[in-house]
């Protein structure tokens, strides 16, 4: 069976049926209806993998209920760790075992044994990283008593498997989503239309921008030899491809949730307008980055600071040590979360280095800004910061996109500042499309501040949107690709 993707006809037929029936289902049965729809959505790909969704749901539900009822802290802790082991253990087996096993075989090969390839061929269940993180955050929140353990198994199962967010997020927290799943859902036309607008915008990002850029990028990453300056464009284009691919998916997920009456968390906030890497991570894949911040970075940073006796260690403040250890490990594990491969680990390490360097060079940069007079030119300073940050991010994406570390190095090694003799019309076409996209993106970002738009009559706005829908049909790529983040 095929995967029910947001850019497939199968999904939209499925959603049309669900949406048509949803508001007629009595409130008390809505959760059953959505849960069944979510399991159908997941099982549409592979029925047997439904077990991998249902089993950890049951285990984490029972563990959370057990923790809530536990009389001793020891029992509570034991239950907590067993719940974490089950959910993270499944993630390890299905996502990382192959990588570690192959690394072990490679090491054996280096030590003189026969070189062999892993024959495990484990098929990773779709969305496993996303629903595991949802369960883990729930367990942690219950353990630290930030939220009560959910009594209703059906609601909890729906929180884990809610179909718009199941395959690639956003990773909504229990504290935010569970109360919504319990509340009555009303028919709100405004909410439905705004959800629909988001879906169309998400489709535009995916089908028009991401899938179009895919061809240019794919060609250059596979054969970078002699492509010179085109490789710079391909790196920039990839930054937009992955953004449009993933934020397009998120927009559609948020839009579908909104049409059904739920508010999902915002996953992207115009990340390429960031003035620093830290700001970038506050705007990129927000549901994951805030997850990593709350459940990994902060505990790691505090734990490091607590272990340092006194204010300084090796003439460096305990606070700085906390930040360095926390951010480096968080970024490393964040990289590993994205994929079981060394390129992802390097990508994560790069971000660790970026942020540590940025933190350590704060004073120096401040001095330089004063000397160059850029502090008095805030707009120029902001533009330069955005440009510099975007370049750092685009460079890191090369490792993320490359099939192997060697391919990434070859790619970087082939970059030159002049163009090859053959002109690429695709570059021009893609650049125009990107420019068009950036104009709309800028408009979206500043929509609230644009006065004429506020005064625009609603019928005219509707006409503009109808025209945009037609434009989407004209410009969309017919042979749609899978979403990049589905592989994670």
């Amino acid at each position: 069976m095929k995967i029910m993707l947001f850019n497939s006809i199968d999904f939209w037929v499925f959603f049309a049926v669900i949406f048509a029936l949803y508001f007629f289902v009595p409130q008390r049965f809505k959760w059953i209806f959505l849960l069944l729809a979510s399991y159908f959505f997941y099982g549409y790909w592979k029925k047997e993998y439904l077990l991998l969704l249902i089993l950890p749901t049951l285990v984490t539900y029972a563990v959370a209920r057990g923790m809530a009822a536990a009389r001793t802290p020891g029992r509570r802790k034991l239950l907590f760790w067993s719940g974490l082991t089950v959910s993270l253990g499944l993630l390890f087996v299905f996502k990382y075992l192959e990588l570690f096993w192959q690394t072990f075989l490679d090491l054996r090969g280096y030590l003189g044994h026969e070189q062999t390839r892993s024959v495990l061929h484990i098929i990773m269940p779709l969305g496993i990283s996303f629903f595991t993180f949802r369960m883990v955050s729930y367990l942690i929140d219950v353990y630290y008593e930030r939220i009560p353990a959910e009594k209703h198994l059906g609601i909890y199962a729906l929180y884990v498997s809610f179909f718009p967010q199941l395959l690639a997020g956003p990773i909504d927290r229990a504290a935010r989503l569970i109360p919504q799943l319990k509340s009555p859902v009303h028919f709100e036309w405004e909410r439905i239309t705004s959800g629909f607008r988001l879906i169309v915008w998400g489709l535009f990002k995916k089908l028009v921008i991401a899938d179009r850029l895919h061809f240019f990028i794919n060609f250059l990453f596979r054969r970078p030899e002699g492509q010179q300056a085109y490789l710079i464009f391909a790196a920039y284009f990839y930054a937009f491809q992955i953004y449009c691919d993933f934020s397009g998916y998120s927009d559609m997920a948020v839009g579908v949730s909104r049409m059904l009456g739920f508010d999902s968390m915002k996953n992207f906030d115009f990340p390429y307008f960031s003035k620093s890497i830290t700001e970038f991570w506050n705007r990129w894949h927000i549901s994951l980055s805030s997850w990593l911040r709350d459940y990994l970075f902060l505990p790691l940073a505090y734990a490091t600071m607590r272990r340092i006796k006194g204010e300084k260690l090796l003439a460096i403040k305990a606070e700085t040590w906390g930040y360095f250890v926390g951010i480096f490990l968080t970024m490393l594990l964040g990289g590993l979360w994205h994929g079981a491969g060394w390129t992802f680990i390097i990508w994560g390490v790069l971000y660790g280095i970026y942020q540590m360097t940025s933190y350590a060079s704060k004073r120096l940069r401040r001095k330089m800004l004063k000397k160059t007079g850029l502090l008095r030119l805030p707009r120029l300073h902001a533009a330069l910061s955005i440009f510099f940050t975007f370049n750092l991010v685009s460079f890191a994406w090369i490792f993320f996109r490359a099939a192997s570390f060697n391919q990434a190095l070859t790619y970087i090694g082939q970059i030159r500042l002049h163009f090859p003799a053959d002109f690429s019309a695709h570059l021009v076409y893609d650049s125009f499309l990107l420019l068009f996209f950036l104009i709309i993106e800028y408009f979206n970002k500043n929509r609230e501040r644009i006065v004429f738009w506020q005064r625009f009559p609603r019928p005219l706005k509707m006409a503009g949107f109808a025209f945009f829908c037609c434009l989407l049909i004209v410009l969309a790529m017919d042979n749609a690709n899978e979403f990049i983040y589905l592989q994670f």
Binding site: A425, Y429, A466, I473
Partner: protein
């Protein structure tokens, strides 16, 4: 239920009004944009000499020398080469096989070819697994009488843009590719237009684009049966070739093993073309897409294809082997070879 009805009652007028308004606007813009694109497309192809058929025929000297006419898609373009046939059999072939040319194009082209060059003695037609599922690229169809073709070509539907999406995509690709070829001066479209370049074309080298690793899972496809998109024209062409007493060789070109496995209903596919062999005495079906005849496992013989890819193209090396096999079969099937040369 109550809250839904209560809210719906309050908002339904606005909802229904806006929904109807939106659908009407969509309909309007859909028609408007489609009309604009159609007009642009039509004038573009009319002005662009790449798509002029009379220019193409005007270039041919000694029209009587051409005894073989080769039809097919890009697979045939990369797989069957007139130069080998000329060197081995001394026969000149006019190759019309190219990407985006389906049965409809071949049928209309044959009418023009008869008028401008004459009736060939042999037609080699490279058939594909996707034969009944392809639509001829609009750009090629523009070569013929457009008033007739337009009615055949554009589909009708609630959304004209969606119904004709493939035509719009083809046009967009044509614009980009032509821009590229105009600036870089040499491109494949020039080969298509110039019969001398076409006669000397021997295919492309393997660049490692073949997917050789079998993934744990990949989508397989079924065979689209007759008539599909343009199958009717294939039938009409065969009827006409039968009337014209032209020997027809339907060639099933080799596919890389991964592609072969992706296309899984081979029996139906073979049955479909063997039917014509039984029906018409002048039609022969030659199947090279089998391991016994051609090493489908060797990725060096292909330039692309693999598991989950529904077609593959022969590399220069692969095409050389195929042409050798084809020439052997041509020798057997055309005992009147000498007769062909003398005419």
């Amino acid at each position: 239920m109550n809250s839904f009805i209560c809210n719906f009652k309050k908002q339904y007028k606005k909802a229904v009004f806006e929904l109807l308004g939106f659908v009407m606007l969509l309909f309007l813009f859909d028609r408007l944009l489609f009309a604009l694109i159609r007009k642009w497309e039509s004038s573009y192809y009319k002005q662009n000499t790449t798509y002029s058929l009379s220019d193409k025929f005007a270039m041919i000297s000694k029209k009587n020398d051409y005894k073989i006419l080769i039809f097919g898609t890009s697979r045939t373009y990369d797989g069957i080469h007139p130069l080998y046939i000329k060197n081995q059999l001394g026969l000149k072939s006019f190759k019309e096989a190219y990407v985006g040319k389906g049965p409809m194009y071949n049928y209309f082209f044959y009418q023009e070819y008869k008028k401008q060059v004459g009736i060939p003695r042999v037609v080699i037609y490279g058939v594909d697994y996707f034969m009944y599922n392809i639509t001829t690229s609009r750009s090629w169809m523009q070569r013929f009488n457009t008033d007739v073709i337009d009615d055949l070509y554009y589909k009708r539907g609630p959304s004209m843009l969606l119904a004709n999406k493939n035509i719009i995509d083809n046009f967009a690709n044509t614009l980009v590719n032509n821009l590229q070829s105009n600036i870089n001066r040499v491109e494949h479209s020039q080969i298509e237009q110039n019969y001398v370049l076409m006669e000397n074309y021997l295919g492309l080298a393997n660049t490692g684009d073949v997917i050789t690793q079998e993934p744990p899972q990949y989508d397989t496809v079924y065979f689209f049966q007759y008539p599909g998109q343009e199958g009717v024209y294939f039938y009409r062409l065969l009827e006409e070739l039968h009337r014209d007493k032209v020997t027809v060789l339907l060639i099933s070109l080799p596919d890389y093993i991964g592609t072969y496995r992706t296309n899984k209903f081979h029996r139906k596919y073979l049955r479909s073309f063997r039917y014509y062999q039984r029906k018409y005495a002048n039609v022969h079906f030659l199947n090279y897409n089998q391991v016994e005849k051609f090493d489908l496992n060797n990725p060096a013989y292909f330039i692309n294809g693999g598991y989950g890819r529904t077609n593959s193209h022969l590399s220069r090396v692969g095409a050389e082997i195929l042409n050798r096999l084809l020439i052997e079969d041509l020798r057997k099937l055309l005992p009147e070879n000498e007769d062909l040369k003398s005419k």
